[in-house]
Structure formats: structure tokens, C-alpha cells
């Protein structure tokens, strides 16, 4: 077992894209610590961990879909819809807080399942399918309410702001999710099948893997984690917000790519995605410390994507 895991980790390190993201992380941390005495503190890193949770949840889902060779552009819409659903219902019946947490997660999972189902049935490119779903969801939400609405009990804020021995609860939950997904992908047949399906659907099919089942699981999971992100945002803002999800869709892709997954699927380690999430969050945190305008932040983020992805040239261009 030891030998194996050593060997595994070695192989993981051979993956150039992982080296890149780790390198970038180191650079960010070092520059930060040099430029600001407050950046390098545990307190701050704990804050970043807390702030990263939302993006983290969304990226896990995105990663799972990307591994099976798809892409999910409905994540933002699901996040939004979840916040509205949760906050609106709980506002009317505060007693339903706990059930609604599960209700929301179920809702997200169902939307994801729908995405997967349509993709399989129609053979339409997932990019289009999920774009359609997103459009429909957003439309429905915005017709229901244009402004932030609803509320949740005060104690629910603890999910976003609470600390467990100075470690943010939300951050812990995120890390837990990453670990669970990693174990799933690495130690369960179904998890390995994700890579098979993403790597070569035809071969997977002929090898007796139920590609449709795997695809459905992936998209459902994506929906689930989007809803989880939604719950996080509700507890962070205490309202349902009809726009909160908009930036998430695209920003959920960045960490996935930085983490060494490739659009087209079949490859990548979920921990790479975690590193990607940290990189993005630390970067924005650092630039806040350096009092750099968001506009520069955009430029830097874009450049990082280009650099990271084009340093690691992979075979076969895919959408």
C-alpha cells in the first residue's frame, strides 16, 4: 500500500499542470508574505479557506462533469435557484430549515440529472444543453423575484461564518467533500469508470461500462454540489439572491483547468482542482491586500489561465 501511494504521488507530480499550479501557489504565498506582514498569518489563511468554500463546492461538480468529458454551464443558475428556493421557503416556515437543506440539495441533484438525461437522449453537446437549462432556470427565478428575498434563521449563518477551533466550518465541509470525491474517484470501480468514460466512451461501452449511468451520476453530482454552494451562499448572505450565481459558472471552470483536468475528459486529479481553488482565492485575497484594483485582478486571472493551460500543451484539441 505504501509503495503504491508513493508511486502514485510521484506520478501525480510528473503531471506538468500540477507542477504549474503548485508553483503559482508558492509564488502567490511568497509575494504575499513579502509584501504584507498580515497576509502570511494563519488567521488570513483561515479566512481564505472560508471564502473559498463557495467556489470550491461549485468546482467539484464542474470537475466531475469535465472528467467524463462534459461541461456544465448551468452551475451558476442552479446555485441561484437553490438560494432562492431555500431562503424563500424557510422565510415562510422557519421550522423547515433542516428539511429544506436536504430539499435544496435534492433539487440541485434533480436539475443535474435532467442535464445528464437530455445530453444522453438527444446527443446534443452538453455545452448547449446546460446553457439551455441555465437560461430556463434563470428566467424562472427572475420572474419569481428580481431582488434578493427570503431569510434564514440566524444559527444557519454558522455554516458560513462559524469556526471550529478557529477553522472555518464551511472550509472544513469543502475539504471533506474533496476528500470524499477523491476516495470515490480513486478507490471505487464507479469512480475509475469516470476516467474510462471520459477517456474513450466507445471503448468504455465495449468494455461493459454503463456510460449513460456514469454520465448521469456525474451531472447529478454537479447539480448537487451547485446546490451545496447555493446553501453556503444563503448562510453567508442570509438571503436568496436571483443573481448570486451568475459569476460562478465560468469561474468554476478556472480551478478545474488549473488543476490539470482537460476539457474533453478522462484525466486529472481532484486535488489539483482544490489547489486551483486555493490559487484563485489566495490571488484575489492577496490583490486585496496589495490594494490592487479588481480590473488588474481580471487581467492577471486571464493571463494565469492562458499561461497555465498553454504551458501544458495536451494532445487532441477538444471543446
Amino acid at each position: 500500500m505504501k509503495l503504491t501511494s508513493v508511486n502514485q504521488s510521484l506520478r501525480r507530480l510528473q503531471d506538468p499542470s500540477l507542477i504549474i499550479v503548485i508553483l503559482l501557489l508558492v509564488i502567490v504565498v511568497i509575494t504575499g508574505s513579502v509584501l504584507s506582514d498580515r497576509f502570511g498569518t494563519m488567521r488570513n489563511f483561515m479566512n481564505v479557506l472560508e471564502q473559498a468554500a463557495g467556489l470550491g463546492f461549485a468546482s467539484i461538480g464542474q470537475a466531475l462533469v469535465v472528467i467524463v468529458g462534459g461541461i456544465d454551464l448551468s452551475i451558476g443558475a442552479v446555485v441561484t435557484a437553490s438560494t432562492i428556493l431555500m431562503a424563500a421557503v424557510v422565510d415562510l416556515h422557519p421550522a423547515l430549515m433542516i428539511p429544506m437543506i436536504f430539499g435544496t440539495l435534492l433539487f440541485g441533484t434533480m436539475i443535474g440529472f435532467l442535464n445528464g438525461y437530455v445530453t444522453i437522449r438527444t446527443g446534443v453537446h452538453p455545452l448547449i444543453v446546460t446553457l439551455g437549462t441555465a437560461s430556463i432556470l434563470n428566467g424562472a427565478v427572475l420572474i419569481y423575484t428580481l431582488q434578493p428575498t427570503g431569510s434564514v434563521p440566524y444559527w444557519f449563518e454558522e455554516f458560513a461564518y462559524g469556526r471550529f477551533w478557529s477553522v472555518p466550518v464551511s472550509g472544513l465541509v469543502m475539504l471533506l467533500c474533496f476528500v470524499m470525491v477523491w476516495v470515490f474517484l480513486r478507490y471505487f470501480e464507479t469512480g475509475r469508470a469516470f476516467y474510462a468514460v471520459g477517456g474513450s466512451p466507445d471503448a468504455a461501452h465495449l468494455s461493459g461500462i454503463q456510460c449513460n449511468k456514469i454520465t448521469l451520476i456525474a451531472y447529478s453530482a454537479s447539480g448537487f454540489f451547485a446546490a451545496l454552494a447555493g446553501a453556503y451562499f444563503v448562510s453567508r448572505t442570509s438571503v436568496g439572491d436571483p443573481r448570486v450565481g451568475d459569476p460562478i459558472t465560468l469561474s468554476s471552470i478556472t480551478p478545474v483547468i488549473l488543476g490539470g483536468l482537460i476539457l474533453g475528459g478522462g484525466k486529472g486529479n481532484i486535488f489539483g482542482v482544490l489547489l486551483g481553488v486555493f490559487l484563485i482565492s489566495l490571488l484575489s485575497n492577496l490583490l486585496n491586500y496589495m490594494n490592487v484594483s479588481t480590473f488588474i485582478q481580471w487581467v492577471i486571472q486571464g493571463l494565469i489561465i492562458i499561461v497555465a493551460v498553454s504551458i501544458y500543451v495536451h494532445k487532441g484539441r477538444k471543446l
Binding site: 503504491t4 461501452h205 461493459g208 454503463q210
Partner: protein, 507 residues
């Protein structure tokens, strides 16, 4: 064990199985024989539920089955080694071998330790030692084929099908594979074995079923057969009727194409030869020998790492495909769908693709001219197609291939490279194509013919180069050209044998 009755499978353009019945029993090695495109793979894919037959029924273990997915047949105990590698490059060797049936720990998680160990054992049994932890993408094609085979040896298998497992391996490895197969047979496993190498059939098969152009020819005990009858049944006519009479090239003409120490790292080393106008030069070898790379390197579609090439006497180094085409080189590629045709376009667009400049006027493309050109080729090669506006994706393999011939003969003035020109084509069309090739040579083209079908090489070529692992291991010409000699070189030891022909110029 398995019985198929009246199976018919139609693909757009081809009827690849026509009312075929087939039966194999437990404890036998049953060979499935037929030319390229005879329908062997289709038949087994139907067995596996990868294709659903248009007509006919499948019986497995005595009861009627109608699989809709490969999973069902797999669960029932059918394991198939497909012709194309079914491997996942990003997963380790062990993970590929045990995909879907990995050893579990008490927690139902994958037990990697156990998996790696038993994977190594399985490979050792095949006499093929490699670390089962490495990723499959880092393996050579031959190693990948061994992994593919190893998959068959794990888990419960009642029916084992091997579709051309030895195409990329040879010698010792095949021997060990055959031992395994015999063991399994004695354990009562039913084995269906597909190969183009007749000697293999004779060495391990008990019975053989022959398919021809998707039709069932017959099932025989190997004991009561000899080689010629077998070939006769596969091909359906006498060999001499298939191939046009050979002609030697016009004597002592200067070579139209010369290659010296051509290298493509890492797959091709020091390939040197001359090609004369009017001759058909064969390039034989096992799949993976590097022949396609040679062809690509000559054509300029992959870059040469070393070596000098001349075309029509002038230097021809580092050309682009465009330049090659302009200088009269044509290259009909191995993979019709992947590298040759543009499936989304119609016949005329496919024919004129390399010669667009010729059809471009100041007003843009001259459609009338294009259509005319396409019509000519259709007539010339007797392509069965309604018209130039017809989509190539709806043509049969043979007609698609003719379209490609049409494409290249229009532009090609000096040398035509043909990589597996008859793959997956019915025998009738094959004969036509052989005549076409002959005719092109007679018209003064130098033809370089790459083929894995030895009969083809033997029947057409006046001279044959044999490759193995990226080097030329031998040249045979005239009377020496026969399958045995060629196979000897094709599976020969690595070091190049002295090639008297080139000693003069090469050094």
C-alpha cells in the same frame, strides 16, 4: 456454448453480415476466417451486443439471448479482445486489466496492492514482464496489445473471443499466448480466434468457420483442410484470377524517388530504398512496424528527424503536404474515415480537395468544372454513386476508397503511396482496385504499396521491402516473393540484415 442463427447486419452502404449462422462449443478453439471486410469483427460485435443484429437470434449456454449492451454479454461470461485496442491511456496497466472486476477490500474499495500483484502475475504468465503500475499511455503498441490480452485471463470467462490478437505482436509472445489459449480450452472455455495468419490457424484451431463478403461459406475441421482450399474459400476464386499479371518496370530507368537513412524518431530508423517509375514496390510488415510513419515522412505530414529524399532527381527535404502534392506525390492514407475523407462533404468536394487551386477562378470556385471532374472520376473508377452532389458518408467502404483513388490520381504525377488500400473492402472491389493499381503503374507512376495482407503484396509487387520495429529487415524480389519469406523478415530479430542492394549508394 454459443450459437448464432441467420444473423444479418446492415450498415449504411454495406451489408456486412448476410444471414450468417455460426456455432462454437465449449472446449474448442474455433477459428473465424475471412478477408478484410468479410464481417468477422461485425459478427463478434453482434455476439457481444455491441451491435444489435437486424435479423437473427443468438443462443448462449443454450438459451436465447438478445443483448442490447456489451455489459450484459460480459456479465454472462463472454470476454472479447477487440481488433482495436480497448485501453484507457490515463489508467494504469493493472487498472485496465481489472477494469470492472478489481479485487476489493473489506470496505468494498479497490485493493490496489492485490490488484498490482495479480496483474503482474497475469502478465508474467504471458511471459511479458512489465510494471503494472505504469500508465498505459506510456506503453508501446505491442505492450498495449499484451495488456489487452491479459484482460482476457482474469475473471470468469466462458467464451473468449480474440480478434487478430497477434497483429502487433510476434514470435515468443504469440507462442506463450497460444499455450494460454490451449490451457483455457482444456479448462473447457470456448475460444473464438480471428487471424489472417493461416499458420496460426493450423497450429491452434480445432475447427474453422469461413466468411466471405458477409456471407457464411462453411465450417470445417482444421484437420481435413489444407492451405490452398482455405484460401480458395476465403477469396472465392483462384488467386491468379484476382491479381493482374505482374510486369517488371522499364529497365534501368532512374529512380523516381529515393530515400536514404530516413529516420522518424522514435519509430523509424535508417530506412533507405529506391522507387522506380512504373513499378509497384511493396512495403510489408506487422501492424506497428512503422510503415505508415515512413509514408507520412515521405509525404511530409510528419517531420523527418533525419535522412535525405529525392523526388524525380531533385532534392525533396522537409516538404509540406502541399509541396508534395504540387510535386506530383500522392498519399492514400491508412484510415479512410479518419485521415482520408471529409465525411460531411459531398463526392466532388472530396475529389477536388487537394487540387483546389486548379478549380479556383477570380470569381471563386468553379463548381461546374468541379462537378465535371468528379463525374469523370466516378465514370473512370466505376463508383456506384447517384452523382457528384452525393454525400460520401452514405457510400460503401469500397466506393469511398474509389473516391480517394479518384482524388489522388488527378493530382499525382510521379509517385503514389498506398497505405492499406483495400482495408475493409469487399473482394469484388478489391479486384477492381488491384487493376487500378496495376494500370497506374503501367501509366508510369511509381507505386509504394503498404499492406498487411500478404497475398496482396505477393500478388502485386515486383519488389518488396519488409519492415520490423522501424527498420528495413529485408528486401525480396522476383521469385523469392512469398508469404513465408516475408513473414520471416517481418518477425526477424532487431538488427538490420545486410542489404546488398544499398551497400553501394548508402555508404
Amino acid at each position: 456454448m454459443i450459437r448464432l442463427e441467420g444473423i444479418t447486419k446492415v450498415f449504411p452502404g454495406v451489408k456486412s453480415l448476410d444471414n450468417v449462422s455460426f456455432e462454437a462449443v465449449a472446449g474448442e478453439v474455433h477459428a473465424l476466417l475471412g478477408e478484410n471486410g468479410a464481417g468477422k469483427s461485425t459478427l463478434i460485435k453482434t455476439m457481444a451486443g455491441a451491435y444489435t443484429a437486424d435479423e437473427g437470434t443468438i443462443y448462449f449456454d443454450g438459451n436465447k439471448r438478445s443483448w442490447t449492451t456489451p455489459k450484459e454479454s460480459k456479465d454472462a461470461g463472454i470476454h472479447i479482445i477487440y481488433q482495436e485496442l480497448m485501453l484507457f491511456p490515463e489508467l494504469s496497466v493493472a487498472e485496465n486489466i481489472f477494469l470492472g472486476q478489481a479485487p476489493r477490500t473489506r470496505l468494498r474499495t479497490i485493493d490496489y496492492k492485490a490488484m498490482y500483484e495479480s496483474a503482474n502475475e497475469t502478465l508474467d504468465k504471458l511471459g511479458h514482464h512489465l510494471d503494472s503500475r505504469v500508465l498505459v499511455k506510456d506503453l508501446s503498441v505491442a505492450d498495449q496489445q499484451m495488456v489487452e490480452i491479459a484482460k482476457a485471463l482474469v475473471g470468469e470467462t466462458k467464451l473468449l473471443v480474440l480478434d487478430e490478437p497477434t497483429a502487433v505482436i510476434s514470435g515468443r509472445e504469440s507462442e506463450l499466448l497460444f499455450e494460454r489459449i490451449k490451457l483455457l480450452r482444456d479448462e473447457g472455455v470456448c475460444i473464438i480466434y480471428i487471424s489472417h495468419r493461416l499458420e496460426e490457424i493450423f497450429s491452434i484451431a480445432d475447427r474453422v468457420t469461413v466468411l466471405k463478403d458477409g456471407q457464411y461459406v462453411g465450417t470445417y475441421d482444421v484437420a481435413e483442410l489444407d492451405r490452398d482450399r482455405l484460401v480458395g474459400m476465403m477469396v472465392g476464386r483462384k488467386v491468379k484470377d484476382i491479381f493482374p499479371p505482374k510486369k517488371d518496370p522499364p529497365a534501368k530507368a532512374a529512380p523516381v524517388l529515393t530515400a536514404r537513412n530516413l529516420c522518424v524518431s522514435p519509430k523509424v530508423n535508417d530506412v533507405s530504398f529506391d522507387l522506380y517509375a512504373g513499378e509497384i514496390l511493396g512495403l510489408a510488415g506487422l501492424v506497428g512496424a512503422g510503415r505508415s510513419e515512413v509514408a507520412h515522412a515521405l509525404f511530409g505530414s510528419i517531420s523527418r528527424s533525419d535522412g535525405g529524399v529525392t523526388l524525380g532527381g531533385e532534392g525533396f527535404d522537409a516538404p509540406s503536404p502541399r509541396e508534395s502534392i504540387d510535386r506530383g506525390l500522392g498519399f492514400l492514407t491508412e484510415d479512410r474515415k479518419g485521415e482520408g475523407l471529409i465525411m460531411s462533404l459531398d463526392v466532388s468536394a472530396n475529389v477536388t480537395a487537394p487540387a483546389l487551386p486548379e478549380f479556383t477562378t477570380s470569381l471563386g470556385l468553379d463548381r461546374a468544372h468541379e462537378t465535371q471532374a468528379a463525374k469523370d472520376e466516378i465514370k473512370r473508377f466505376r463508383v456506384a454513386v447517384p452523382g457528384p452532389e452525393y454525400g460520401v458518408n452514405k457510400l460503401s467502404g469500397g466506393n469511398q476508397q474509389k473516391i480517394l483513388f479518384g482524388r489522388w490520381t488527378r493530382t499525382c504525377r510521379r509517385v503514389l503511396i498506398l497505405d492499406e488500400p483495400t482495408r475493409g473492402i469487399d473482394v469484388g472491389t478489391k479486384v477492381e482496385i488491384y487493376e487500378i493499381i496495376r494500370k497506374l503503374a503501367d501509366e508510369g507512376l511509381g507505386v509504394l504499396l503498404i499492406s498487411s495482407e500478404l497475398p496482396e503484396i505477393v500478388g502485386l509487387c515486383t519488389r518488396v521491402l519488409v519492415m520490423r520495429d522501424g527498420i528495413i529487415t529485408g528486401e525480396v524480389s522476383g521469385a523469392e516473393i512469398n508469404e513465408e519469406t516475408i513473414m520471416k523478415f517481418a518477425t526477424a530479430a532487431k538488427e538490420p540484415m545486410v542489404q546488398s542492394v544499398f551497400l553501394g549508394e548508402a555508404t
